[in-house]
Amino acid sequence: MIEIVNIKKSFGDKQVLAGISGRFEDSHNSLIIGASGTGKSVLLKCIVGLITPDEGDVFFDGRSLYNSSAREVKKIRREMGMLFQGGALFDSKTVAENVRFPLDMLQNEMALSEKNDRVLHSLERVGLENAAQKMPSEISGGMKKRVGIARAIVMNPKYLFCDEPNSGLDPMTAIRIDELISEITDDYKMTTVVVTHDMNSVMGIGEYVMFLYNGLKEWEGDSQSILHAESKALREFVFASKIMEKLIHKE
């Protein structure tokens, strides 16, 4: 379980996060949603430690990310996998080398054959076993995201973080990526946190949804109750999509 406590972050005079707390349960897909510029990605980067918050802390199964020794923080980080918006694949490495990278760096005692088996298994899991020898420049955006997922899960992490996994993808591929994240969360019993502004994702995989507005947590709940939420900002966000409007009228 991941618990965030009173996270605050400002950049210059602009306060992006004004004290956000919440809890992301094990084996659940938790979504952080909100309009562009509401601090979703900043919150995610505070959770994984890429941005240090001005105040607050993040606890991974009770272990503090910001008040622990460097060794403990390193240990926590090695239990994380993260999918970045653009995939963040290393341009100079093949798909297989990209996926094997965490193993090469962090699993000194593991035999090369075992590493290769793990890489193949991860690539099979995302349906890319045939692209192992391709370079990142030779594959599509959707494939890059799948390679990013394969790299994130190759170390069998306890926590998976996805920063806008659907951005820039066609609807079919976006749904496939959502399904993949959901399946992997169930299979590996991971705590998954996804940042998105895609309502298809919210309705498709959102078991717990946190809505950010003006740097604060405006609403939290599950994807079904989101349609009946009373928050004006949330309703505007949800029903900005015409499909969602039709869906609620149908109901």
């Binding site: 890429l50 240990k75 980080r77 653009g86 341009d91 000194n108």
Partner: protein, 245 residues
């Protein structure tokens, strides 16, 4: 204030690079890879620049020493000292600041923009140590080697002028090279080149590492990396000359 902040950030960047290093087994292949990129890939430009500058130095020195009272071998002596003390270490490193510095800043900057550095950090790997340290070590090994090569080719350029031109004989030139040779000048050139290599690699990496934005900012970071590295080289050149000579 911004100036002081930048210095502070630069020194913290260097400190982070040596703190929490990755296991030593990780570095040798990375260092060799960087040595090829920094050293081998710069051979042609260094060879061309050094030979031509060496030849031009010989011609211009000869032109300024037209006097029956000055022996022609003095041209060789002047060329030797100019090459060893200034042209090989400083001029070559200014050229390398443009070639290697912009390359390093561009490479690291684009890794930053495309979140590759974030990906490394999230894995619990020290990105400064993993990415920058091998580049610094490789630069500090290969740039002095390039400077030695540059000095040799510069002197060979002068020799070709003596051989093909009519300003002096090759014998005069070689006698001049041997006349009053101080081994310390070679050490001095090597010390300078190591310091300059450190400046080129660290300043360029620093500028690349703290690039934020997009393609435009990567270009700006490369430009700043080159200009700052060149200024750093010139200031260090003055300080080293004052301290060591």
């Amino acid at each position: 204030m911004n100036f002081i902040e930048n210095w502070g950030k630069y020194f913290l960047f260097l400190y982070n690079m040596v703190r929490n290093k990755e296991p030593l087994r990780v570095y040798p292949p990375l260092i060799i890879d960087e040595m090829v990129k920094i050293g081998t890939n710069s051979l042609v430009i260094v060879a061309i620049v050094s030979s031509f500058i060496g030849a031009v130095t010989a011609i211009q020195t000869a032109d300024n020493l037209v006097s029956p009272l000055v022996p022609l071998s003095v041209i060789g002596t002047i060329c030797r000292d100019m090459n060893l003390l200034e042209l090989a270490p400083t001029f070559t490193c200014v050229v390398l600041a443009g070639k290697v510095g912009s390359n390093l800043a561009g490479e690291i900057g684009s890794m930053r923009i495309t979140e590759q550095i974030d990906a490394i950090d999230v894995m619990g790997i020290n990105s400064t140590s993993f990415l920058i340290l091998p580049k610094m070590v490789a630069a500090c090994i290969m740039i002095p080697v390039l400077c030695i090569l540059s000095a040799f080719l510069g002197l060979m350029g002068g020799y070709l002028v003596a051989l093909l031109g009519d300003v002096m004989t090759p014998n005069d030139y070689v006698n001049g090279l041997r006349n009053g040779f101080r081994v310390f000048n070679v050490y001095f050139a090597l010390i300078k080149s190591v310091v300059f290599a450190f400046l080129i690699a660290s300043i360029a990496s620093y500028k690349g590492y703290y690039t934020y934005g997009g393609a435009l900012e990567i270009g700006q970071a490369s430009t700043k990396a080159v200009t700052n590295a060149v200024i750093g080289i010139l200031v260090a050149d003055l300080v080293l000359a004052q301290v060591l000579i």
